[in-house]
Every structure is written in C-alpha cells, then in structure tokens.
C-alpha cells in the first residue's frame, strides 16, 4: 500500500497554542468530579502556557496545512489579547462562582473550548477554518450564558443562541457567495483572485462581503444586529458577561480584520456600508447607555458603543488600523473586565446593581471603588488611562484613511459617553447617608479576584502612561499585509 497522495505540511509549532488550550479543555471535561479550584488552576496554567508558546512564535510567520493556519504577528497579537481576557475571567470566577452556585469544572471546560475556537479564528488562513472556529466559540458561549439556573439566564442563552445562529447562517451564506465569486476559500487565494486584472464577479463578491459583514455584525454587536446584546449581557451570570463582552468580541474582530483587511484589500465597496453601520452603532450605543439605570445594562450598552469605536479601526487602512485595533482591544478587554469584576463582587444578585446603589461605595469599599473608577474613566477615554490612547489611535487611523465625518461623529459621541461613565463614578464618592445603599454589607475581596483586578488596573494605567510598550510592537505596517503568505 503506497500512498499516492502527499499529506499537507503539518507543523506542530504553529498549532501548539491551540493544542495546549484544547488539551486543557479535554482535561476539564473528563475531570468533572475533581475540585473546581484545581481544574481552574489547570485551565489558567494551560492558558499561560499557550500564551508563552505564542511568544516563542513571534516574528516567525509560521504556517501549516498549506496556509490554512497562519501564526503571523497579527494572529499572535489577537491570540494574546484573548489569553489575557480568558485568564482574567478565570481569576475573577474563582471567588465568584461558588457564590452563584456555578462551582463546577464544566464552566472551565466550556471556557477553554471557546478559547480554542477563538484561537482558530485568529490563526485562520482559510474561511472554513474561520467558520468552524467561530461556531466552536459560539456554541460554548451559548452554553455559558445559560449556565446560571435562573429564568433570566435561560432567556439570555436562548436569545443568544437564536440570534447567534441567524448570524452564523448569514455568515455561511456570505462565505458561499465569496467562494462562488473567487473560486477560493483561502484568504490569500481570495486576495489574489480579487486583485487579478480580469476579475469579473465584483457584484457577487460585494454581496458576499456584505453578508459576511452582517454575520460578523451579529457577533460583535454592530447596530442593526445588536438587539440581543443588552438582554444577553444583562441576563447572563456576571462572570460570563465579562467573558462574552470582552474575549468573544476580540475574536470576532480578529476574524473581521482577517477577512476585510486581509482578503479584500482592493475591493472596498463594503466600506460605505460599514461606515453607516459604525455610525449607527456609535449613536445608538452611546445614547441608549445614557438612559440606563441598571449598571450591568449600562455596561452592556457600553459594549455596543465600543464596538463602534473598534469599527473605526476596521475602516482604516489595515496597515495602520490593525495596530490600533489590537491596542484598543487590549485596553477594552482590561477595562471592561475590571468594571465587571467589581460589579460581580458588589451586586446582591446576578441582575447587577442600580446606578443609584453605587452611591457611597468609596466609603464602604475604597479599594473596589477606586478600581471601578479607574476602569470607568478609562472606558470614558480620560487621559492617564489606556482608553484614551485607544481612542486616540483609532480616531487617528480612521482620520488618516479619509473617514473625516465619522471620526468627528465618534469624537462627539465620546463626549456623551463621558456623561454616562462619570455619573456612576461620581456617585461612588458621594456620601451615602439616608439611602438604602448604605446598609449593604461590605464584601471581602478574595485573593484571585484581587489579582484579576490588579492586572486590569495596572494594565490600563501602564498602557495609558506608556502606550508604546504594546503599540510599537504592532506598529510595523508590513506585518499587517497578508501578502507574505506564499499562496499554495
């Protein structure tokens, strides 16, 4: 029996980050009778090892499977942000899950499966791999949103599932049309076909690109496709909200940048539509957040609003916008995770707290109040914090790409954002006499949560003071061009 067909190039190194996380997930699945804390520590170790293996791949531009998997610098950048978010989620979950009676290793298993899918998205060099990664991530996400045994959590999971599957269906349709137009599924192949002189199927390609934009729009909560966001983020257990609103968004944006920045460099007809969607997202997200009275719901709308700011980076040239996008995603992950981790500690139940109940938090829990204030200030985009530089970079990238109108709109809406972020922040420092909030007992901050909050706060301050630390690493325009992929 002599094999007539040669197997594709299987290189273990570029797959290693994914395989480590997958191995962790398998262990967590089988070990469901083990102490959850042990499993969570294993999960954290797996994530850290995976992150470390990504660092060793830095600059190597490794590929495998004939370009289906490419561990180039952008992929590693997104992958590392995913790892940071997932580790913070696990740290915050250590003390939080026993409180909400979700203290079982299945949580870690689902989280690690989701991360496996996300890394597949980030490393994808092929639309099929990207799609399967997205599905793995989404399936695990639906289950996580439903894990808490409350009506509201079940409603949240159901809504997430229904609208998420609609998004996936539209995305698959778009992939099919793109394949029909270009005859290729690999990002490099699509790019080549589109750039060719005699490319004939532009209308079909645009239809496919727009459908893919809509499909991804569901996952990142771009505005006409955002309706699930507030209910899901509000209804899901807070630790899961932390995961869904940060890490899932990072992965979906990685996919967006891969497809729209990498595969469609010439054909930018989708840009006009994307511009309208981003503008709507900025307006709706920020104005809706302005009228929220529940703090958890406010953070949900803030996630929508930040999708708009992140979308600006997508509109820019990939060479410039890519670096801004990674920086903003890292900052966004840290500040949102920090805010939600504090919320998870101070809320009486999983429904979050009313804004008014934050009154006087500083006098009861000065540490938590200061951490939350830092995160909120960063989310609002105030100078000494990471959020400021993130906004600055995406505004600059979009502006230089000629999107002047929308940059001005974004700057105006971020003034609105200032109001709704600083209102709860200011409330925390007001004396609480006479309000019901004064009687809520102070909570003890566990070690793991403390570490998680420390990572977030130190991260946003450090990124705010020395943004070059991260930004300069990614700010090499050449590495954002997908061309270096000897297309096979």
């Amino acid at each position: 029996m002599t094999p007539e067909l040669r197997p594709p190039d299987i290189a273990l190194a570029p797959m290693l980050p994914i395989l480590i996380v997958l191995a962790g997930a398998l262990v967590a699945t089988v070990a469901f009778r083990t102490q959850r804390r042990v499993v969570a520590v294993i999960a954290i170790v797996a994530l850290l090892l995976s992150g470390f293996s990504m660092l060793t791949l830095w600059g190597a531009n490794a590929t495998a499977f004939g370009g289906s998997l490419r561990a180039d610098n952008p992929a590693l950048g997104f992958g590392l942000v995913v790892i940071v978010g997932a580790v913070v989620t696990l740290l915050a979950s250590m003390d939080q899950l026993p409180r909400v009676r979700m203290n079982f290793p299945e949580f870690d298993a689902m989280l690690l499966y989701a991360v496996t899918g996300m890394l597949l998205i980030a490393f994808a060099g092929d639309l099929i791999v990207l799609l399967i990664g997205l599905e793995i991530m989404s399936l695990a996400g639906y289950v996580m949103a439903t894990l808490y045994g409350s009506r509201r959590s079940e409603e949240s999971g159901m809504k997430y599932f229904l609208l998420g599957s609609v998004g996936s269906a539209i995305l698959i349709y778009g992939i099919a049309l793109t394949f029909g137009a270009t005859g290729s599924l690999s990002l490099a192949g699509i790019r080549e076909a589109v750039s060719a002189q005699n490319f004939a199927n532009t209308p079909l390609l645009i239809a496919g690109a727009l459908m893919m934009l809509a499909g991804f729009g569901f996952k990142v909560a771009l505005v006409p496709f955002h309706q699930w966001t507030p209910d899901v983020y509000h209804g899901a257990p807070t630790v899961v909200t932390l995961f869904l609103s940060t890490v899932v968004k990072v992965a979906a944006f990685a996919g967006l940048l891969r497809v729209f920045g990498g595969a469609f460099p010439v054909e930018r007809a989708w840009e006009g539509v994307a511009e309208v969607l981003v503008a709507l997202t900025l307006i709706v997200g920020n104005t809706a957040a302005l009228v929220q009275r529940n703090f958890k719901r406010l953070l949900a709308y803030s996630a929508v609003a930040h999708t708009g700011f992140l979308g600006l980076a997508l509109l820019a040239e990939p060479a410039r916008g890519g670096a801004a996008l990674v920086f903003y995603l890292l900052a966004y992950t840290l500040m949102t995770a920090g805010a939600l981790a504090v919320l998870a500690l101070i809320q009486p139940d999983e429904g979050g707290v009313e804004n008014a109940d934050l009154r006087g938090l500083y006098y009861r829990q000065p540490g938590l109040a200061l951490a939350l204030a830092a995160c909120l200030a960063s989310l609002a985009g105030l100078p000494p914090f990471a959020g400021f530089f993130g906004k600055y970079l995406v505004f600059q990238a979009a502006f230089q790409a000629g999107h002047v109108g929308i940059t001005v709109l974004a700057a105006m809406t971020s003034v609105v954002a200032l109001v709704y972020y600083l209102r709860p922040a200011a409330l925390m420092f007001m004396p609480a006499e006479g309000s019901a909030a004064a009687v809520r007992p102070a909570v003890r901050v566990g070690t793991f949560t403390g570490v998680a909050l420390g990572v977030c706060v130190v991260g946003i301050v450090l990124l705010g003071v020395l943004p070059g630390l991260v930004y300069n690493v990614f700010d090499a325009p050449a590495q954002w061009v997908l061309a270096s992929l000897a297309a096979k």
Binding site: I10, R99, A109, M110, Y113, V129, L139, R151, S184
Partner: protein
C-alpha cells in the same frame, strides 16, 4: 434533459420552502422542509455529487428532520399559533428583504463568470464518488476536518451540560456575602 430535471427540482425546492414558511401547522411546515431537503439532495446527484446527495439524505432529511418532528411532538406544537404577534410588521419586511435579495442575486447571476473552469471541477469530482471527497478531506481540508471533531465534542458536552445541570461543588472559601435566591428558578 438535465435542464428539465433542474427545473422540476427547482420547483420542488421552492414549493417546499414556501410551504415551510407559510404553513401554520408545524408538522406541515416540517414536511415541506423534507421536500426541500430531498429535492436538494437530488439536485446534488444531477450535478455529479453523489456522495453529497447521499449525506444530505442521511443527515438532513433523516437525522435532523427526525429531531424536528421529535420536538414538534414533545412540545405538542402541531396546533397553529394564534397568539398575538408582537412584531407583526416583520413578515412584510422579511418578504421585501427576501424579494430584494432574490432579485439582486438573479441580476448578479446573469453577469457571473466561473472563476475556475467548471469542467476542471467536474473532473476532480470523478462522478462524485466518496473517494474523491475523502482524498480532499484528508489533504486540503485536514485542519477543518479535525476542527469539526472539536465542534462535535462541544456540541455533545454542551448539550449534556444544559440538560443535566452539573451540581455546584461546596466551596472551602467562606461565602463573602449571601446570595438572594429569589430570582432563581425552581429547577
């Protein structure tokens, strides 16, 4: 002759799809879907993709439709829905959107040129034998193939986690603050 088959199958597919959307009885809708799926499988066969046709019948028309009918039976969903529709305008909007999409795709199809010669693809299919599919699956698409096993695994574990809710382990850490259990469902 193939054009004749195509028209017949296309009419079947569209009729089945319309029944699925319009029928108020869930069982009728499911049967309309069966018609669509089977006709689609036959279309694959006329396109020389025999294996794909067989899989379509086994997986979609077989397994997944069984699941559909199962749910209809379990939830007793055969009665038409009579409750007030809070988003009644959606039907008209969806019809408009669907018509616009169909029109656009029709127009696009007129100007479409095959990016790769179809004869090449037909030759690679070798009459749609499973062997051709297997060879591609384990060479060009081996990474997606392995990724699918992870996807299936997540589906298995996820559905079990949802149905047989795991029990929360007691924690050694003292509870920082009691949780108000008023919001939790009975189960």
């Amino acid at each position: 002759m193939s054009a004749f088959f195509f028209v017949v199958l296309a009419v079947l597919i569209i009729t089945g799809a319309l029944v699925t959307v319009i029928a108020s009885n869930a069982v009728h809708a499911a049967l309309g879907l069966v018609a669509t799926l089977v006709a689609l499988a036959m279309t694959y066969v006329t396109l020389d993709a025999h294996f794909l046709g067989a899989v379509q019948v086994i997986v979609y028309a077989g397994a997944i439709m069984v699941l559909f009918l199962f749910v209809i039976m379990l939830l007793d969903a055969t009665r038409p829905v009579t409750a007030h529709n809070p988003v009644g305008f959606v039907n008209e909007l969806a019809a408009l959107g669907g018509a616009a999409l169909a029109g656009a795709l029709g127009l696009i199809a007129l100007g479409w040129r095959d990016p790769r010669p179809l004869a090449e693809g037909a030759a690679a299919l070798r009459n749609g034998t499973p062997g051709a599919v297997g060879e591609t699956l384990l060479t060009r698409f081996v990474l997606p193939f392995e990724a699918v096993s992870v996807l299936l695994l997540v589906a298995v574990v996820g559905s079990i986690v949802l149905v047989k809710r795991p029990v929360s382990q007691p924690s050694a850490v003292p509870e920082a603050q009691p949780i108000e259990s008023g919001e939790r469902a009975g189960a």
